[in-house]
Amino acid sequence: MEREPLTPYFVQEYLKRMVDIDISLEEAAAIIPNIEGNRAILASLDKFDVQEGRPASLYNPA
């Protein structure tokens, strides 16, 4: 499904309403490439089966 592009207004409002951080629209626009970059990288995690029950903390490499 195609995502709608992020807007500076959305980024500004999200930070304000969710984590109480006030930034300008200009600053919000400057953050968008970082957010999009993270999203693109994180899509690589889709291929891994992470549904099973063992949490990372139970794995003892020693």
Binding site: L15, E27, I31, I41, F48, A62
Partner: protein, 483 residues
């Protein structure tokens, strides 16, 4: 004694101090003279403890003279990255808003160093809040690599790497959450060690972005010196939640020169996929040296490593636990680039952070499968060598196509070190030769968890066979820079 004690390795200097052929007080004065000469152009330190260090050196000398020698670190000057707490010092972590952060207590690693008699010379320059792999800092000035005029020394522990490479001090500590000990060590031509996660307490550090993958790590000119530092700072700390409760070996006893029987894996994927051709050539030559020393090498494959490393991006969100109050109170005091990266982390969904923690386990299992076939994995440390301070991209060759492409240095630098952080595996970088332009190449070895001895043994054998560590960087004196 040679005319300049700073040309000696830590263990060589320790031998002189033990025999009372060198005076800790005079050694400290030599350190401070070297700092006076070189700091105006290297800028490796954010703060110095000149008076306190001289006083402590005098006290160490009195103890040794009275027959109370504590061991090889007694009276030894060390430099400490400025995100590690040293009692009574300002710990800025390279941030402007922490420029009055007086830390009242020592980090656990510092306590152990002091108990062994080491003396903290000062706090070293670093990338702001340890969240970048350059030696630039907008608040305390850029730190310069002694191997190339106006060249980057890597980060975030760039100041510690410079201090050791430029022979300002024999030993230093850095921190490593994506390679921040090993990256600067690699491009500055020294040894950098990131031991197994949990081996050294991280209590007392201003953690970087990736809190659960952060480490304190030794930086030195030789593997034996790094081993000495590790065996001093390692050990269980009940106050540190990630600290491992297991015995600490005498790492120096594991150093060897014959590698017969050792199985070394050479990755067929990821680690050699995107490299400066001169780095590849140096590292392939280093692997041949291991073979000449008796090691048996074989190709190994770590499935999906490129995609598994995406977990690191999600783990960046962990850092908000630390930065959130500062971002609210002092957003204007962060550098623009760093502030924007941190704010973007609020948009990483909790789903992805949870997935990343599962993927970390998968990554550990993939490495564990490889380590059933081999004892060590050999790889480059950084895909590139040191670059000019004003550069933001570097050229690398894509191994599949042979094409030369430009990539951001920020992405390239941590590409080959961060698997050690996400997996928790121990890794070491040693000088692996030089480019024709005279810039150091880093050669990295990974081992199974808590098998630092094997890794140190092989690294020492390679180092002694090649002796790259004996080269002196050209830009360690003002005269050299002027010339």
């Amino acid at each position: 004694m040679t005319t300049d004690p700073l040309d000696l390795t830590a263990l060589e200097l320790a031998g002189l101090i033990e025999r009372r052929a060198a005076s800790p007080f005079e050694v400290m004065r030599a350190v401070q003279r070297r700092l006076d000469e070189t700091e105006p152009f290297l800028n490796a330190f954010i703060s110095r403890r000149d008076d306190e260090a001289l006083e402590e050196a005098r006290a160490a000398e009195a103890e040794i003279t009275a027959g109370r020698y504590r061991g090889p670190l007694h009276g030894m000057p060390v430099a400490i990255k400025d995100n590690i707490a040293v009692a009574g010092t300002i710990t800025t972590a390279g941030a402007k808003f922490l420029n009055e952060n007086l830390t009242p207590e020592d980090a656990e690693a510092i306590l152990r160093l002091k108990t062994a008699g080491a003396i903290v010379v000062g706090k070293t320059n670093m990338f702001e809040l340890a969240v970048g792999n350059r030696s630039i800092n907008p608040h305390y000035g850029d730190a310069h690599n002694p191997w190339g005029a106006n060249h980057d020394a890597g980060g975030s522990s760039g100041g510690s790497a410079i201090a050791v490479a430029a022979r300002q001090v024999p030993l230093a500590l850095g921190t490593d959450a994506a390679g921040s000990v090993r990256m600067p060590a690699s491009v500055s031509g020294i040894v950098g060690l990131k031991q197994t996660q949990g081996r050294v307490s991280v209590r007392g550090i201003v953690a970087s972005q990736n809190v659960t993958v952060d480490h304190i790590g030794p930086m030195a000119r030789t593997v034996a010196d790094a081993a000495l530092l590790l065996e001093t700072i390692a050990g269980h700390d009940p106050s540190c939640p990630t600290s491992a409760d297991c015995p600490v070996p005498t790492y120096r006893a594991a150093l060897r020169e014959d590698l017969s029987g050792l199985r070394v894996g050479v990755p067929a994927n990821y680690f050699f996929d995107l490299l400066d051709p001169e780095v590849e050539s140096g590292v392939r030559a280093a692997i041949r040296v291991l073979e000449e020393l008796g090691a048996a090498t074989q190709l190994v494959h770590i499935p999906d490593l490129e995609d598994l490393m995406a977990a690191r991006t999600a783990l960046s969100a962990e850092g908000l636990a630390l930065h959130d109050p500062w971002l609210r109170a002092h957003p204007e005091l962060y550098g623009n680039e760093l502030r924007r990266r941190l704010l973007a982390n609020y948009f990483i969904p909790s789903r992805d952070l949870a997935r990343a923690n599962r993927v970390r386990r998968i990554l550990k299992e993939r490495f564990a499968a490889v380590f059933e076939k081999v004892d060590l994995i050999a790889a480059p440390t950084t895909p590139i060598v040191s670059f000019p301070l004003d550069a933001t991209t570097a050229a690398v060759r894509v191994s599949k196509t042979g094409e030369i492409v430009e990539r951001p240095t920020s992405v390239l630098m941590m590409r080959l070190t961060s698997p050690g952080n996400v997996s928790g595996l121990p890794a070491i970088t040693v000088p692996g030769g030089f480019t024709p332009a005279g810039l150091p190449i880093g050669f990295q070895l990974f081992a199974r968890p808590f098998e630092e001895e094997l890794m140190l043994g092989a690294a020492h054998a390679y180092e002694q066979a090649t002796r790259w560590y004996t080269r002196v960087p050209p830009h360690v004196t003002p005269a050299a820079v002027t010339a």
